[in-house]
């Protein structure tokens, strides 16, 4: 594969999945033309009849994936922007996430819903949202949010192979920006595992998506100041890898959780709560959260958008405070 960016990683993985299993098909808006981010470029020609352009109707995109997965196909649906998935909230919350539970596993849904999320692309209110807190609160729906191309490959593969519905979040800002050297196609990954991407003794930063990269950048900068950070890539947002997070926090005694979603009710609250309950005795400082302010995410104008979003500088500043605590 050589060096690929996230978009190439996604496209290649979809291509491989379509080639490997004729039950796999894609459905969504503008996919045949390659999709607005070009994630499906060339696939319609290569797999005729298996890349389906749907009407502009998100509830049905998800509901049709449910029916097709129930039948035994392996639908991979795309919601063009995560911000537009909300019309399908009911189909995910009331139906997809409950299918197996309702039948004690007799009926199940091997389906994936891919969608580009996150801000920093001047997309304003409806092309920038972080939706994970809403959808990671549905027992029965797995939620994955990788940061590196290799994880996009291995976890998308795992998501397509998974007999359960998986919401696969692709951070728009990582699409072209984040590149990685790959020898061959990464093997199928394990959903439900976090990974420590950097080790340090002073504090633990917990992040995912583009914020993971900003956290790593901040950690690099802090190292120069003699502050050593452990950085955890959460990777799977539901179910959370509690043990990995707790271990990483126990080792340093200090936790800083970073996400670009708004603070109140964001996933950081859950992670902080897990730490506060299960790592209490190892904590040397308050559990800190760095997140977007509690305003409807996210303003369009550059300067307001930058004001809204956490970044390496804000992360470094918060980490310095925490280290000094």
């Amino acid at each position: 594969m050589a060096e690929v960016n996230v978009l190439e990683a996604v496209r290649t993985t979809l291509d491989e999945a379509l080639a490997a299993d004729d039950r796999v098909f894609l459905l969504g808006e503008d996919l045949e033309a390659g999709g607005v981010f070009r994630a499906t470029d060339g696939l319609a020609e290569k797999y005729p009849g298996r890349i389906i352009d749907t009407p502009l109707a998100e509830s049905s995109i998800i509901g049709i994936a449910i029916g097709a997965a129930h039948y035994g196909q392996r639908p991979v649906a795309e919601i063009q922007f995560a911000d537009f998935i909300h019309a399908g909230f009911d189909q995910l919350c009331s139906e997809a996430s409950r299918w197996s539970y309702r039948t004690r596993g007799e009926q199940y849904l091997p389906m994936v819903v891919r969608t580009p999320w996150g801000g920093g692309v001047h997309g304003g209110q409806h092309h920038s949202q972080s939706i994970e807190a809403y959808y990671a609160h549905m027992p029965g729906l797995k939620v994955v949010a990788p940061s590196f191309p290799a994880d996009y490959c291995s976890l998308l593969k795992a998501a397509i192979a998974d007999p359960n519905p998986v919401l696969f979040l692709e951070h728009k800002r990582t699409y072209r920006l984040i590149r990685q050297e790959l020898e061959g196609a990464p093997a199928e990954g394990r959903i439900g595992r976090a990974r420590i991407t950097r080790y340090g003794d002073d504090l633990t930063i917990i992040a995912y998506g583009f914020m993971l990269h900003e956290s790593l950048a901040a950690a690099g900068e802090l190292a120069g100041e003699g502050i050593e950070c452990t950085v955890v890539d959460v990777l799977t947002l539901n179910p959370l890898d509690e043990e990995a997070v707790l271990e990483a926090v126990r080792a340093t005694g200090k936790a800083l959780i970073v996400h670009e979603d708004t603070l109140t009710g964001g996933l950081g609250g859950e992670i902080a709560a897990i730490i506060a309950e299960h790592a209490f005795e190892d904590l040397d400082a308050p559990v800190r959260r760095l997140a977007g302010p509690d305003i409807p995410p996210m303003p369009f104008h550059h300067d307001m958008e930058a004001f809204f979003l956490p970044d390496r500088a804000k992360i470094a500043a918060a980490a310095r405070d925490l280290a000094a605590y």
Partner: protein, 343 residues
Amino acid sequence: MTASETRAPRSREMLHDYLLSEEQLEAMYRYMLLSRRLEERMMTLNRQGRADFVIAGAGQEAAQVGAGLALKPGVDYAAPYYRDLGVMLVLGMSPREAMLNALAKRDDPNSFGRQMPSHWASVSRRVLTQSSVVATQLIHVVGVALAAKMRNDPIVAFASCGEGSTSRGDFHEALNFAAIHKLPVIFYVENNGYAISERMEKAMPLPHVVDRAAAYGIQSAVVDGLDAVAVYQTVRPAVDQARGGAGPFLIEAKCFRLWSHSSDDDQRRYRPREEIEDWTRRDPIALFRARIEEDCLFPAEDLDAIEAGVEVDVRAAAKWAFDQPDPVPGDALGFVYREVSDG
């Protein structure tokens, strides 16, 4: 709605006569009766405090049994809505299973006590697990039909709902997609004139659900839902044609809700007494028997025998179901996810 009010099916070509054998007519009668007796029993159990919740199809048996018989059981996929006990019986659910479901027993094959009664599911009968959220299932069967079409699998996907549920956005998105892709889907609406307390007029600008079909250019038919034979003769050709590639159908069965919306409802609060009485007089099961006798299709003794048999079956099923185990508290856990290995 009275039978006379209902219009003839739109697409006449559908109506080349599908004649029914004596066995089929007997089966129709048995299923309708079985559905009714089971529900009467469930209501009694509810009043006795032994069944928490009952939502019944009483009054709609002809619409349900006639349609159910038009499907290929175990082959065609179905998403029957909560009133469709009649459809489930035709598809093969036994009186015992119906009672396990009504009593939320551990071994209820629909949801093992996890869901309210009448939220159907069955792998062997190809019944998709149903939620309480109305109309979502209309989209699911579209997905099933799309998948089957991709695999050249000649199945038909059937979904039912009430007329009130056709106001939801999911109805529009489902019919729109099914029409675009000419999918083998039967959208079957049992129009009983009410959504809980709301008369149809509050939910629909036009008098017939099938008026909605024009937006999608799909075939549709209205049928007298009190006449099981007419229902069968309308749905069966549609099923065959859909299987043959004619695309989706929207079929409306005009019927009525004999009882309150559910065991938690009291329809006397919002319905004129005369209407309830009028409907009670036009009980589809009585009408069916009267017609059989009148046409002397087969001897009344046979019908009596069927009734007697049904009585016995229902009583036995209820008695048996009582003694079946309840779920244990811990059964609440498990199967949130299907094991990856099982995939």
